[in-house]
Amino acid sequence: MRESGEGMELDLTRVKEGETGTRADQAAPAGAQTQAEVEQMPVFDIQELSVYYGSFRAVRDVDIPIAPQHITALIGPSGCGKTTVLRCLNRMNDLVETARVEGRVLYHGVDLYDPQVDPVEVRRRVGMVFQKPNPFPKSIFDNIAFGPKIGGFKGDMDELVEKSLKAAALWDEVKDRLKESAMGLSGGQQQRLCIARCIAVEPDVILMDEPCSALDPIATGRIEDLMQVIKKDYTIVIVTHNMQQAARVSDMTAFFTAEVNEQQDRRTGVLVEYDKTEKIFTNPSNERTENYVTGRFG
Protein backbone atom coordinates (compact mmCIF):
# COMPACT_ATOMS: atom_id res chain seq x y z
CA MET A 1 0.00 0.00 0.00
CA ARG A 2 2.81 2.39 0.75
CA GLU A 3 4.71 1.58 -2.40
CA SER A 4 1.73 2.36 -4.62
CA GLY A 5 1.99 6.09 -4.06
CA GLU A 6 5.64 6.20 -4.91
CA GLY A 7 5.12 6.26 -8.66
CA MET A 8 3.24 9.53 -8.62
CA GLU A 9 5.78 12.26 -8.93
CA LEU A 10 4.56 15.53 -7.54
CA ASP A 11 6.44 18.72 -7.81
CA LEU A 12 5.96 20.55 -4.56
CA THR A 13 9.01 22.69 -4.94
CA ARG A 14 8.45 26.36 -5.59
CA VAL A 15 7.04 27.00 -9.02
CA LYS A 16 6.94 30.30 -10.78
CA GLU A 17 4.22 32.84 -10.21
CA GLY A 18 1.15 32.08 -12.27
CA GLU A 19 1.79 28.39 -12.59
CA THR A 20 0.39 27.56 -9.18
CA GLY A 21 -3.03 26.50 -8.09
CA THR A 22 -3.82 24.03 -10.82
CA ARG A 23 -5.39 21.23 -8.93
CA ALA A 24 -6.23 18.96 -11.80
CA ASP A 25 -2.72 17.66 -12.28
CA GLN A 26 -2.14 16.98 -8.61
CA ALA A 27 -4.65 14.37 -7.66
CA ALA A 28 -5.68 11.51 -9.87
CA PRO A 29 -9.39 11.71 -10.69
CA ALA A 30 -11.05 9.56 -8.09
CA GLY A 31 -14.12 8.78 -10.13
CA ALA A 32 -12.20 6.69 -12.60
CA GLN A 33 -11.18 4.11 -10.04
CA THR A 34 -12.96 1.55 -7.98
CA GLN A 35 -13.43 2.11 -4.30
CA ALA A 36 -10.74 -0.40 -3.50
CA GLU A 37 -8.25 1.36 -5.72
CA VAL A 38 -9.07 4.68 -4.11
CA GLU A 39 -8.43 3.24 -0.70
CA GLN A 40 -5.12 1.94 -1.85
CA MET A 41 -4.06 5.36 -2.90
CA PRO A 42 -4.11 7.52 0.19
CA VAL A 43 -3.75 11.30 -0.08
CA PHE A 44 -1.59 11.18 2.98
CA ASP A 45 0.35 8.27 4.27
CA ILE A 46 1.68 9.03 7.72
CA GLN A 47 4.48 6.60 8.53
CA GLU A 48 6.10 6.17 11.93
CA LEU A 49 5.63 9.86 12.65
CA SER A 50 7.08 11.27 15.86
CA VAL A 51 7.06 14.96 16.70
CA TYR A 52 9.33 16.60 19.24
CA TYR A 53 9.14 20.04 20.79
CA GLY A 54 12.73 20.52 21.87
CA SER A 55 13.63 17.32 23.71
CA PHE A 56 10.02 16.59 24.57
CA ARG A 57 8.37 13.96 22.40
CA ALA A 58 4.79 15.14 21.93
CA VAL A 59 3.61 12.21 19.83
CA ARG A 60 5.23 8.98 18.68
CA ASP A 61 4.94 6.26 16.07
CA VAL A 62 1.82 7.36 14.27
CA ASP A 63 0.80 5.41 11.15
CA ILE A 64 -2.32 6.59 9.35
CA PRO A 65 -3.25 6.40 5.68
CA ILE A 66 -5.79 9.09 4.79
CA ALA A 67 -8.16 8.33 1.94
CA PRO A 68 -9.25 10.92 -0.62
CA GLN A 69 -12.76 12.37 -0.54
CA HIS A 70 -13.23 11.00 2.94
CA ILE A 71 -13.56 12.72 6.28
CA THR A 72 -10.99 11.43 8.70
CA ALA A 73 -11.43 12.34 12.35
CA LEU A 74 -8.64 12.45 14.91
CA ILE A 75 -10.07 12.05 18.40
CA GLY A 76 -8.69 11.58 21.88
CA PRO A 77 -8.22 13.32 25.23
CA SER A 78 -6.40 16.63 25.63
CA GLY A 79 -2.65 16.48 25.14
CA CYS A 80 -2.71 13.33 23.05
CA GLY A 81 -1.10 14.98 20.05
CA LYS A 82 -4.00 15.08 17.58
CA THR A 83 -3.47 18.73 16.71
CA THR A 84 0.27 18.15 16.47
CA VAL A 85 -0.27 15.38 13.94
CA LEU A 86 -2.76 17.52 12.00
CA ARG A 87 -0.28 20.38 11.83
CA CYS A 88 2.32 18.10 10.31
CA LEU A 89 0.08 17.59 7.30
CA ASN A 90 0.56 21.15 6.04
CA ARG A 91 3.84 21.81 7.81
CA MET A 92 2.24 24.33 10.11
CA ASN A 93 4.51 22.95 12.83
CA ASP A 94 7.40 24.57 10.98
CA LEU A 95 6.24 27.82 12.57
CA VAL A 96 7.11 26.43 15.99
CA GLU A 97 10.85 26.83 16.17
CA THR A 98 11.55 23.92 18.47
CA ALA A 99 9.37 21.45 16.59
CA ARG A 100 11.13 18.51 14.93
CA VAL A 101 9.64 15.68 12.95
CA GLU A 102 10.78 12.09 12.59
CA GLY A 103 9.26 9.56 10.25
CA ARG A 104 7.53 10.34 7.01
CA VAL A 105 4.40 12.14 5.88
CA LEU A 106 3.80 11.08 2.29
CA TYR A 107 1.47 13.28 0.27
CA HIS A 108 0.58 11.46 -2.95
CA GLY A 109 3.82 9.60 -2.45
CA VAL A 110 6.01 12.65 -1.86
CA ASP A 111 7.56 13.11 1.56
CA LEU A 112 6.39 16.51 2.80
CA TYR A 113 9.51 16.83 4.92
CA ASP A 114 11.88 16.35 2.03
CA PRO A 115 14.29 19.30 2.07
CA GLN A 116 13.28 20.19 -1.48
CA VAL A 117 9.65 20.65 -0.53
CA ASP A 118 8.56 24.23 -0.05
CA PRO A 119 6.10 24.52 2.87
CA VAL A 120 4.40 27.46 1.15
CA GLU A 121 3.49 25.22 -1.78
CA VAL A 122 2.30 22.52 0.61
CA ARG A 123 -0.06 24.96 2.31
CA ARG A 124 -1.57 26.02 -1.01
CA ARG A 125 -2.61 22.42 -1.54
CA VAL A 126 -3.41 21.56 2.04
CA GLY A 127 -5.59 24.29 3.50
CA MET A 128 -6.45 24.74 7.14
CA VAL A 129 -9.38 25.89 9.25
CA PHE A 130 -8.43 26.80 12.79
CA GLN A 131 -9.98 26.26 16.17
CA LYS A 132 -10.88 29.88 16.69
CA PRO A 133 -12.32 31.69 13.66
CA ASN A 134 -9.47 33.92 12.49
CA PRO A 135 -10.65 36.12 9.63
CA PHE A 136 -8.28 38.86 8.55
CA PRO A 137 -9.39 42.26 9.85
CA LYS A 138 -10.33 43.22 6.31
CA SER A 139 -13.47 43.10 4.20
CA ILE A 140 -15.27 39.83 3.54
CA PHE A 141 -14.23 40.08 -0.10
CA ASP A 142 -10.55 40.67 0.73
CA ASN A 143 -10.54 37.73 3.11
CA ILE A 144 -11.43 35.39 0.26
CA ALA A 145 -9.38 37.15 -2.40
CA PHE A 146 -6.08 37.23 -0.51
CA GLY A 147 -5.14 33.57 -0.98
CA PRO A 148 -5.90 33.40 -4.72
CA LYS A 149 -4.23 36.77 -5.31
CA ILE A 150 -0.91 35.75 -3.79
CA GLY A 151 -1.26 32.39 -5.50
CA GLY A 152 -1.22 34.15 -8.87
CA PHE A 153 -4.92 33.78 -9.68
CA LYS A 154 -5.62 35.68 -12.91
CA GLY A 155 -9.29 34.97 -13.49
CA ASP A 156 -12.46 36.76 -12.42
CA MET A 157 -12.05 37.42 -8.72
CA ASP A 158 -15.72 38.39 -8.18
CA GLU A 159 -16.76 35.06 -9.57
CA LEU A 160 -14.27 33.14 -7.45
CA VAL A 161 -15.36 34.94 -4.28
CA GLU A 162 -19.00 34.18 -5.03
CA LYS A 163 -18.22 30.55 -5.80
CA SER A 164 -16.19 30.11 -2.62
CA LEU A 165 -18.81 31.75 -0.42
CA LYS A 166 -21.52 29.63 -1.99
CA ALA A 167 -19.46 26.50 -1.40
CA ALA A 168 -19.20 27.49 2.25
CA ALA A 169 -22.96 28.19 2.45
CA LEU A 170 -22.35 31.80 3.38
CA TRP A 171 -23.16 33.64 0.16
CA ASP A 172 -26.82 34.40 0.88
CA GLU A 173 -25.99 35.91 4.24
CA VAL A 174 -23.17 38.19 3.07
CA LYS A 175 -23.73 38.90 -0.63
CA ASP A 176 -24.90 42.47 0.09
CA ARG A 177 -22.04 43.34 2.43
CA LEU A 178 -18.92 41.95 0.78
CA LYS A 179 -17.10 45.25 1.33
CA GLU A 180 -17.86 45.28 5.03
CA SER A 181 -15.46 44.07 7.66
CA ALA A 182 -15.38 40.36 8.32
CA MET A 183 -15.11 41.14 12.02
CA GLY A 184 -18.76 42.14 12.02
CA LEU A 185 -19.88 38.57 11.27
CA SER A 186 -21.04 36.17 13.98
CA GLY A 187 -18.68 33.43 15.16
CA GLY A 188 -20.33 30.78 13.02
CA GLN A 189 -20.31 33.03 9.97
CA GLN A 190 -16.65 33.86 10.58
CA GLN A 191 -15.80 30.17 10.68
CA ARG A 192 -17.65 29.53 7.42
CA LEU A 193 -15.81 32.52 5.98
CA CYS A 194 -12.55 30.83 7.00
CA ILE A 195 -13.72 27.68 5.22
CA ALA A 196 -14.58 29.77 2.14
CA ARG A 197 -11.16 31.41 2.33
CA CYS A 198 -9.60 27.99 2.44
CA ILE A 199 -11.70 26.70 -0.50
CA ALA A 200 -10.84 29.78 -2.58
CA VAL A 201 -7.25 28.63 -3.07
CA GLU A 202 -8.63 25.34 -4.42
CA PRO A 203 -6.74 23.03 -2.13
CA ASP A 204 -6.63 19.28 -2.35
CA VAL A 205 -7.11 18.72 1.36
CA ILE A 206 -8.77 20.75 4.12
CA LEU A 207 -7.47 20.33 7.65
CA MET A 208 -9.83 21.34 10.43
CA ASP A 209 -8.56 21.84 13.94
CA GLU A 210 -11.59 21.66 16.24
CA PRO A 211 -13.47 24.00 13.91
CA CYS A 212 -16.64 24.04 16.01
CA SER A 213 -15.26 24.31 19.52
CA ALA A 214 -15.98 28.05 19.68
CA LEU A 215 -19.46 27.76 18.10
CA ASP A 216 -22.97 27.12 19.36
CA PRO A 217 -24.82 23.94 18.38
CA ILE A 218 -26.71 25.55 15.49
CA ALA A 219 -23.56 26.99 13.92
CA THR A 220 -21.86 23.64 14.56
CA GLY A 221 -24.67 21.85 12.74
CA ARG A 222 -24.27 24.12 9.73
CA ILE A 223 -20.52 23.48 9.58
CA GLU A 224 -21.08 19.73 9.85
CA ASP A 225 -23.64 19.81 7.05
CA LEU A 226 -21.20 21.83 5.01
CA MET A 227 -18.47 19.24 5.55
CA GLN A 228 -20.72 16.53 4.18
CA VAL A 229 -21.32 18.61 1.05
CA ILE A 230 -17.72 19.59 0.35
CA LYS A 231 -16.22 16.18 0.98
CA LYS A 232 -17.18 15.33 -2.59
CA ASP A 233 -14.40 17.61 -3.72
CA TYR A 234 -11.98 17.63 -0.84
CA THR A 235 -10.26 15.30 1.49
CA ILE A 236 -11.00 16.46 5.01
CA VAL A 237 -9.06 15.72 8.17
CA ILE A 238 -10.68 16.99 11.34
CA VAL A 239 -9.47 17.09 14.92
CA THR A 240 -12.31 17.12 17.38
CA HIS A 241 -12.87 16.83 21.10
CA ASN A 242 -16.47 16.06 20.47
CA MET A 243 -16.97 12.32 20.01
CA GLN A 244 -20.53 12.74 18.79
CA GLN A 245 -19.20 15.04 16.12
CA ALA A 246 -16.64 12.49 15.02
CA ALA A 247 -19.32 9.80 14.94
CA ARG A 248 -21.68 12.05 12.97
CA VAL A 249 -19.39 13.41 10.33
CA SER A 250 -16.41 11.17 9.76
CA ASP A 251 -15.81 8.10 7.66
CA MET A 252 -12.59 7.07 9.33
CA THR A 253 -11.52 7.71 12.90
CA ALA A 254 -8.12 7.62 14.55
CA PHE A 255 -8.14 7.40 18.33
CA PHE A 256 -5.14 8.83 20.14
CA THR A 257 -4.32 8.75 23.79
CA ALA A 258 -1.60 10.12 26.01
CA GLU A 259 0.90 7.89 27.74
CA VAL A 260 2.79 9.15 30.74
CA ASN A 261 6.46 9.29 29.94
CA GLU A 262 8.36 7.96 32.94
CA GLN A 263 11.57 9.82 32.22
CA GLN A 264 10.27 13.33 31.77
CA ASP A 265 6.98 13.06 33.58
CA ARG A 266 5.31 14.43 30.49
CA ARG A 267 2.71 12.88 28.31
CA THR A 268 3.44 11.54 24.86
CA GLY A 269 0.61 10.98 22.43
CA VAL A 270 0.19 7.61 20.74
CA LEU A 271 -2.18 6.29 18.12
CA VAL A 272 -4.30 3.56 19.67
CA GLU A 273 -6.56 2.56 16.86
CA TYR A 274 -7.44 3.63 13.35
CA ASP A 275 -10.42 2.21 11.57
CA LYS A 276 -13.77 2.94 10.01
CA THR A 277 -15.72 5.32 12.24
CA GLU A 278 -18.55 2.86 12.62
CA LYS A 279 -16.19 0.19 13.88
CA ILE A 280 -14.41 2.55 16.31
CA PHE A 281 -17.69 3.59 17.89
CA THR A 282 -19.51 0.28 17.91
CA ASN A 283 -16.95 -2.47 18.04
CA PRO A 284 -13.47 -1.14 18.72
CA SER A 285 -10.72 -3.71 18.84
CA ASN A 286 -8.76 -1.96 21.57
CA GLU A 287 -9.97 -1.75 25.13
CA ARG A 288 -8.67 1.79 25.59
CA THR A 289 -10.69 2.93 22.59
CA GLU A 290 -13.78 1.30 23.99
CA ASN A 291 -13.31 2.93 27.37
CA TYR A 292 -12.97 6.31 25.74
CA VAL A 293 -15.85 6.14 23.31
CA THR A 294 -18.21 4.76 25.93
CA GLY A 295 -17.25 7.55 28.30
CA ARG A 296 -15.50 5.47 30.92
CA PHE A 297 -12.30 7.40 30.44
CA GLY A 298 -11.29 10.81 29.26
Partner: protein
Protein backbone atom coordinates in the same frame (compact mmCIF):
# COMPACT_ATOMS: atom_id res chain seq x y z
CA UNK B 1 -48.34 27.83 65.11
CA UNK B 2 -45.69 27.94 67.74
CA UNK B 3 -42.88 27.42 65.30
CA UNK B 4 -43.20 30.74 63.51
CA UNK B 5 -43.91 33.15 66.29
CA UNK B 6 -40.41 34.01 67.45
CA UNK B 7 -37.05 34.55 65.73
CA UNK B 8 -36.18 36.45 62.57
CA UNK B 9 -37.63 35.29 59.26
CA UNK B 10 -35.26 33.55 56.80
CA UNK B 11 -35.30 36.67 54.61
CA UNK B 12 -34.06 38.78 57.49
CA UNK B 13 -31.25 36.35 58.18
CA UNK B 14 -30.10 36.41 54.56
CA UNK B 15 -30.41 40.17 54.39
CA UNK B 16 -28.33 40.59 57.52
CA UNK B 17 -25.58 38.34 56.19
CA UNK B 18 -25.56 40.06 52.81
CA UNK B 19 -25.23 43.54 54.29
CA UNK B 20 -21.82 42.89 55.72
CA UNK B 21 -20.97 44.28 59.09
CA UNK B 22 -17.57 45.95 59.04
CA UNK B 23 -16.20 48.80 56.98
CA UNK B 24 -13.51 47.56 54.59
CA UNK B 25 -10.66 49.64 56.04
CA UNK B 26 -7.90 48.09 53.93
CA UNK B 27 -9.52 48.89 50.60
CA UNK B 28 -10.29 52.42 51.65
CA UNK B 29 -6.71 52.98 52.81
CA UNK B 30 -5.29 51.48 49.62
CA UNK B 31 -7.50 53.67 47.50
CA UNK B 32 -6.48 56.74 49.45
CA UNK B 33 -2.81 55.86 49.01
CA UNK B 34 -3.25 55.48 45.25
CA UNK B 35 -5.05 58.82 45.09
CA UNK B 36 -2.20 60.40 47.06
CA UNK B 37 0.35 59.02 44.62
CA UNK B 38 -1.61 60.45 41.73
CA UNK B 39 -1.95 63.87 43.32
CA UNK B 40 1.78 64.08 44.11
CA UNK B 41 2.68 63.57 40.46
CA UNK B 42 -0.03 65.93 39.29
CA UNK B 43 1.03 68.54 41.84
CA UNK B 44 4.58 68.75 40.52
CA UNK B 45 3.33 68.94 36.97
CA UNK B 46 0.88 71.71 37.77
CA UNK B 47 3.47 73.72 39.72
CA UNK B 48 5.96 73.44 36.86
CA UNK B 49 3.45 74.43 34.23
CA UNK B 50 2.09 77.29 36.30
CA UNK B 51 5.58 78.65 36.96
CA UNK B 52 6.50 78.50 33.29
CA UNK B 53 3.23 80.00 32.12
CA UNK B 54 3.24 82.84 34.67
CA UNK B 55 6.86 83.69 33.94
CA UNK B 56 6.77 83.31 30.19
CA UNK B 57 3.36 84.46 29.07
CA UNK B 58 4.44 88.10 29.44
CA UNK B 59 6.86 87.73 26.54
CA UNK B 60 4.04 86.71 24.24
CA UNK B 61 1.70 89.46 25.41
CA UNK B 62 4.43 92.07 24.92
CA UNK B 63 5.88 90.89 21.63
CA UNK B 64 3.21 88.66 20.18
CA UNK B 65 4.49 86.16 17.64
CA UNK B 66 7.62 88.25 17.17
CA UNK B 67 9.32 86.04 19.75
CA UNK B 68 8.87 83.06 17.46
CA UNK B 69 10.27 84.77 14.37
CA UNK B 70 13.17 86.69 15.91
CA UNK B 71 16.75 85.42 15.76
CA UNK B 72 19.03 84.84 18.69
CA UNK B 73 20.45 88.02 20.19
CA UNK B 74 22.36 89.19 23.19
CA UNK B 75 19.62 91.75 23.82
CA UNK B 76 16.78 90.02 25.68
CA UNK B 77 14.02 92.21 24.33
CA UNK B 78 14.73 91.37 20.69
CA UNK B 79 16.03 87.81 21.12
CA UNK B 80 13.78 85.06 19.71
CA UNK B 81 13.63 81.33 19.09
CA UNK B 82 13.32 81.16 15.30
CA UNK B 83 16.69 79.45 14.88
CA UNK B 84 15.87 77.03 17.66
CA UNK B 85 12.62 76.07 15.96
CA UNK B 86 14.28 75.67 12.56
CA UNK B 87 17.17 73.72 14.12
CA UNK B 88 14.88 71.38 16.01
CA UNK B 89 12.76 70.71 12.94
CA UNK B 90 15.76 70.07 10.71
CA UNK B 91 17.15 67.56 13.19
CA UNK B 92 13.80 65.80 13.28
CA UNK B 93 14.26 65.05 9.59
CA UNK B 94 17.35 63.06 10.51
CA UNK B 95 15.41 61.18 13.17
CA UNK B 96 12.53 60.45 10.79
CA UNK B 97 14.85 59.59 7.92
CA UNK B 98 17.36 57.47 9.82
CA UNK B 99 15.88 56.14 13.05
CA UNK B 100 12.40 55.30 11.76
CA UNK B 101 13.25 53.08 8.79
CA UNK B 102 16.14 51.28 10.44
CA UNK B 103 14.35 50.97 13.79
CA UNK B 104 11.14 49.62 12.29
CA UNK B 105 13.14 47.35 10.00
CA UNK B 106 15.12 45.99 12.94
CA UNK B 107 11.91 45.38 14.86
CA UNK B 108 10.33 43.49 11.97
CA UNK B 109 13.43 41.35 11.67
CA UNK B 110 13.57 40.59 15.39
CA UNK B 111 9.87 39.84 15.74
CA UNK B 112 9.01 38.13 12.47
CA UNK B 113 12.19 36.63 11.07
CA UNK B 114 14.82 36.08 13.77
CA UNK B 115 15.00 32.67 15.34
CA UNK B 116 14.98 32.34 19.09
CA UNK B 117 18.72 31.84 19.46
CA UNK B 118 20.91 32.89 22.40
CA UNK B 119 22.55 35.49 20.16
CA UNK B 120 19.23 37.08 19.26
CA UNK B 121 18.09 37.05 22.87
CA UNK B 122 21.37 38.75 23.77
CA UNK B 123 20.73 41.37 21.08
CA UNK B 124 17.23 42.09 22.35
CA UNK B 125 18.40 42.49 25.95
CA UNK B 126 21.07 44.90 24.78
CA UNK B 127 18.65 46.97 22.73
CA UNK B 128 16.51 47.28 25.85
CA UNK B 129 19.59 48.34 27.82
CA UNK B 130 20.50 50.88 25.16
CA UNK B 131 17.10 52.51 25.59
CA UNK B 132 18.00 53.06 29.22
CA UNK B 133 21.47 54.47 28.61
CA UNK B 134 21.67 58.13 29.72
CA UNK B 135 21.41 60.48 26.79
CA UNK B 136 24.72 62.16 27.68
CA UNK B 137 26.46 58.92 26.77
CA UNK B 138 24.95 59.19 23.31
CA UNK B 139 26.23 62.75 23.25
CA UNK B 140 29.75 61.54 23.94
CA UNK B 141 29.35 58.91 21.24
CA UNK B 142 28.18 61.60 18.84
CA UNK B 143 31.12 63.78 19.75
CA UNK B 144 33.63 60.98 19.22
CA UNK B 145 32.16 59.52 16.04
CA UNK B 146 30.03 62.03 14.17
CA UNK B 147 31.90 65.17 15.17
CA UNK B 148 35.49 63.94 15.21
CA UNK B 149 35.88 60.67 13.31
CA UNK B 150 33.46 61.60 10.53
CA UNK B 151 34.27 65.30 10.42
CA UNK B 152 34.82 65.19 6.67
CA UNK B 153 31.20 64.20 6.14
CA UNK B 154 29.41 66.00 8.95
CA UNK B 155 31.49 69.17 9.04
CA UNK B 156 32.32 68.79 12.72
CA UNK B 157 29.98 70.35 15.26
CA UNK B 158 27.16 70.56 12.80
CA UNK B 159 23.47 70.04 12.31
CA UNK B 160 24.21 66.71 10.64
CA UNK B 161 26.23 65.48 13.61
CA UNK B 162 23.50 66.59 16.01
CA UNK B 163 20.73 65.06 13.92
CA UNK B 164 22.46 61.70 13.57
CA UNK B 165 23.22 61.67 17.30
CA UNK B 166 19.54 62.18 18.09
CA UNK B 167 18.58 59.50 15.57
CA UNK B 168 20.92 57.02 17.26
CA UNK B 169 19.55 58.05 20.64
CA UNK B 170 15.94 57.23 19.80
CA UNK B 171 16.74 54.17 17.66
CA UNK B 172 16.41 51.67 20.54
CA UNK B 173 13.13 53.28 21.59
CA UNK B 174 11.79 52.98 18.06
CA UNK B 175 12.85 49.31 17.93
CA UNK B 176 11.22 48.52 21.26
CA UNK B 177 7.92 50.27 20.58
CA UNK B 178 7.69 48.83 17.07
CA UNK B 179 8.49 45.35 18.44
CA UNK B 180 5.71 45.68 20.97
CA UNK B 181 3.25 46.75 18.29
CA UNK B 182 4.23 43.73 16.17
CA UNK B 183 3.99 41.37 19.11
CA UNK B 184 0.46 42.60 19.79
CA UNK B 185 -0.68 41.22 16.42
CA UNK B 186 -2.44 37.94 17.22
CA UNK B 187 -0.58 34.79 16.15
CA UNK B 188 -3.85 33.52 14.67
CA UNK B 189 -3.63 36.18 11.95
CA UNK B 190 -0.18 34.96 10.92
CA UNK B 191 -1.42 31.36 10.93
CA UNK B 192 -4.38 32.37 8.77
CA UNK B 193 -1.99 33.93 6.27
CA UNK B 194 0.40 30.98 6.22
CA UNK B 195 -2.61 28.66 6.04
CA UNK B 196 -3.62 29.95 2.61
CA UNK B 197 -0.08 29.58 1.31
CA UNK B 198 1.39 33.01 1.92
CA UNK B 199 5.12 33.48 2.31
CA UNK B 200 6.48 35.16 5.39
CA UNK B 201 6.94 38.38 3.46
CA UNK B 202 3.32 38.28 2.24
CA UNK B 203 2.04 37.64 5.74
CA UNK B 204 4.10 40.53 7.13
CA UNK B 205 3.31 42.90 4.28
CA UNK B 206 -0.44 42.26 3.96
CA UNK B 207 -1.51 41.37 7.47
CA UNK B 208 0.99 41.99 10.25
CA UNK B 209 2.19 45.46 9.25
CA UNK B 210 -1.26 46.95 8.53
CA UNK B 211 -2.50 45.75 11.90
CA UNK B 212 0.62 46.92 13.73
CA UNK B 213 0.89 50.22 11.86
CA UNK B 214 -1.12 52.41 14.27
CA UNK B 215 0.93 51.13 17.20
CA UNK B 216 4.21 51.57 15.35
CA UNK B 217 3.18 55.05 14.29
CA UNK B 218 2.27 56.08 17.82
CA UNK B 219 5.53 54.75 19.21
CA UNK B 220 7.66 56.43 16.59
CA UNK B 221 5.98 59.82 16.92
CA UNK B 222 6.39 59.61 20.69
CA UNK B 223 10.08 58.88 20.22
CA UNK B 224 10.16 61.96 18.02
CA UNK B 225 8.91 64.11 20.87
CA UNK B 226 11.56 62.54 23.08
CA UNK B 227 14.18 63.60 20.53
CA UNK B 228 12.69 67.10 20.39
CA UNK B 229 13.23 67.58 24.09
CA UNK B 230 16.72 66.08 24.40
CA UNK B 231 19.36 68.61 25.39
CA UNK B 232 22.47 66.96 26.80
CA UNK B 233 23.59 65.04 23.70
CA UNK B 234 23.30 67.98 21.31
CA UNK B 235 24.94 70.31 23.81
CA UNK B 236 27.91 67.94 23.76
CA UNK B 237 27.87 67.71 19.99
CA UNK B 238 28.11 71.49 19.87
CA UNK B 239 24.76 73.16 19.81
CA UNK B 240 25.51 75.30 22.81
CA UNK B 241 28.23 77.34 21.19
CA UNK B 242 26.60 77.26 17.82
CA UNK B 243 24.54 79.77 16.00
CA UNK B 244 22.34 78.45 13.26
CA UNK B 245 23.28 80.24 10.11
CA UNK B 246 20.36 81.74 8.26
CA UNK B 247 20.32 83.93 5.23
CA UNK B 248 22.79 83.65 2.42
CA UNK B 249 24.09 80.13 3.10
CA UNK B 250 22.92 77.21 1.03
CA UNK B 251 20.93 74.42 2.65
CA UNK B 252 23.89 72.03 2.47
CA UNK B 253 26.11 74.57 4.18
CA UNK B 254 23.46 75.10 6.79
CA UNK B 255 23.37 71.38 7.52
CA UNK B 256 27.14 71.18 7.86
CA UNK B 257 27.37 74.39 9.86
CA UNK B 258 26.85 75.28 13.52
CA UNK B 259 23.38 74.81 14.90
CA UNK B 260 21.02 75.40 17.77
CA UNK B 261 17.81 73.72 18.78
CA UNK B 262 14.93 74.69 21.05
CA UNK B 263 16.20 72.89 24.15
CA UNK B 264 19.71 74.26 23.74
CA UNK B 265 18.30 77.76 23.39
CA UNK B 266 16.54 77.22 26.71
CA UNK B 267 19.75 75.85 28.20
CA UNK B 268 21.70 78.86 26.93
CA UNK B 269 19.32 81.51 28.15
CA UNK B 270 18.88 79.88 31.52
CA UNK B 271 22.60 80.30 32.17
CA UNK B 272 22.67 84.02 31.27
CA UNK B 273 22.82 86.52 34.14
CA UNK B 274 20.30 89.09 32.86
CA UNK B 275 16.94 88.84 34.61
CA UNK B 276 15.05 89.55 31.38
CA UNK B 277 16.34 86.32 29.87
CA UNK B 278 14.52 84.39 32.58
CA UNK B 279 11.21 85.40 31.03
CA UNK B 280 12.61 84.50 27.61
CA UNK B 281 13.66 81.09 28.92
CA UNK B 282 10.19 80.38 30.17
CA UNK B 283 8.64 81.61 26.96
CA UNK B 284 10.95 79.26 25.02
CA UNK B 285 9.88 76.40 27.30
CA UNK B 286 6.27 77.19 26.41
CA UNK B 287 7.20 76.98 22.72
CA UNK B 288 8.97 73.65 23.22
CA UNK B 289 6.07 72.22 25.22
CA UNK B 290 3.74 73.42 22.50
CA UNK B 291 5.75 71.67 19.80
CA UNK B 292 5.86 68.43 21.80
CA UNK B 293 2.15 68.69 22.49
CA UNK B 294 1.50 69.03 18.77
CA UNK B 295 3.67 65.98 18.06
CA UNK B 296 1.84 63.89 20.66
CA UNK B 297 -1.53 65.08 19.42
CA UNK B 298 -0.45 64.05 15.94
CA UNK B 299 0.43 60.59 17.25
CA UNK B 300 -3.00 60.20 18.80
CA UNK B 301 -4.70 61.53 15.69
CA UNK B 302 -2.80 59.13 13.42
CA UNK B 303 -3.54 56.21 15.69
CA UNK B 304 -7.25 56.92 15.72
CA UNK B 305 -7.25 57.60 12.01
CA UNK B 306 -5.69 54.31 10.98
CA UNK B 307 -6.88 52.04 13.71
CA UNK B 308 -9.29 49.42 12.36
CA UNK B 309 -9.47 50.98 8.97
CA UNK B 310 -10.19 48.48 6.22
Amino acid sequence: MATTVTGPSPTDVVLKSLRGSKVDVKSRLFEAALLFALSISLLFLVVLLADVLVGGIGVFTDRGMGFLTADLSSLPNIAGVSQGIVGSFLMMFFVVGLAFPSGIGAAIYLEEYAKDTPLNRFLIVNIRNLAGVPSIVFGLLGLAIFVQALEGFTGGRSMIAGGITLAVLVLPIVIITASEALRAVPESIREAGFGVGATRWEVVRHHVLPIAAPGILTGTVLSLSRALGETAPIVLVGAVTGFLATGDQSFAEQLRGPFVALPTTIFNWASLPQAEFRANTKAAIIVLLGVILVANALAIFLRNRYERKW
